[in-house]
Amino acid sequence: MFEARIHVTLKKSVLDPQGDTVRSGLASLGFQGVSDCRIGKFMVLRLDERDMARAKAQVDEMCRKLLANPVIEDYVFQITEAAE
């Protein structure tokens, strides 16, 4: 059993008005040192899979086919062993 933790964010080349708004919110709170803020999605999947390499390949395919849109988004994920 594995757990996959997936982050999906807008590509650097894509304007993220939500991130910009949060950054200016932080600035008005006094947090002046934030030069950039990007908002994304965080997903946690539990996988009934015993082989790490296969789990990685599966999650990568899931990201490419559904969880992220390659036109606008990038994704990264970590996979760890999870308790049965």
């Binding site: 304007l15 008005p17 708004t21 999605k41 559904l66 969880l67 849109n69 036109v71 606008i72």
Partner: protein, 231 residues
């Protein structure tokens, strides 16, 4: 000629299309539920606006996997005319039938108002009845309509003449002020390379009677009626 109006769970503009087809244009039409696996017998397909499958994950991302979409993709690949407006445009992009993607409006606000769009291309089944450069007054109603495509895709769209509509002023000027959502190059609608699939954010079905403030949207449907479709 028979037209099909697709309904996904969460679609909400289908009755507006139905009203225009039934009462204004008096064409033969029917609804197509998303569980259908065939679109045989239809000559033109319309994907209305709404929030198909709740727009969970991304707008249109789940609708792409509805059973009917395989049939829609086959229909489109064979040259059948397909039009998606608003959420329908988002679904067509997610399904890979149209290039690019639609992102959150730059304003972060839902925009529901009249806009003007300039017809850039009249060589699609949906714009054949328009004059080149004709400005249409049609409403928008969306929170995620900012058209985006990577630079190389955008260059290809320009080269192939796939940019069909741009947001403009009433007299056809392409300005930042006329752009309601931050779309790249004021893009309001694009077609595929085969020119038979059109997606646009504005709602032509809500501007097909003078009583509603504009009849300009009807021109897209009348184009289909007058088009000599190679089917």
């Amino acid at each position: 000629m028979k037209w099909g109006v697709l309904i996904f769970p969460g679609t909400w503009s289908h009755q507006d299309f139905a009203h225009v087809f039934q009462d204004v244009l008096k064409v033969d039409w029917d609804y197509i539920w998303h569980k259908e696996t065939s679109v045989a017998g239809y000559d033109c397909l319309f994907l209305p606006g709404g929030f198909a499958h709740g727009d969970y994950l991304r707008c249109g991302a789940i609708a792409r996997f509805s059973p009917v979409m395989d049939a829609v993709i086959r229909f489109a690949r064979e040259g059948g005319p397909v039009m998606g407006s608003c959420n329908g445009f988002q679904i067509l992009c997610e399904a890979g039938l149209l290039p690019g993607a639609l992102l959150r409006n730059t304003s972060l606000q839902y925009r529901c108002r009249w806009v003007h769009i300039r017809t850039e291309r009249c060589d699609t089944p949906f714009t054949r009845a328009a004059r080149p450069g004709q400005v249409l007054k049609i409403p928008i109603s969306h929170g995620e309509g900012r058209y985006f495509a990577p630079p190389e895709t955008l260059a290809r769209l320009r080269r192939n003449g796939q940019i069909v509509f741009r947001y403009s002023t009433p007299d056809g000027q392409i300005t930042d002020a006329a752009n309601p959502n931050g779309a790249l190059e004021n893009i309001a609608g694009v077609c595929n390379e085969g020119r038979n699939v059109l997606g646009l954010m504005p709602h032509p079905e809500r501007a097909s009677e003078a009583l509603l403030g504009s009849e300009d949207g009807r021109l897209l449907f009348e184009s289909v009626l007058t088009a000599a479709l190679r089917r």
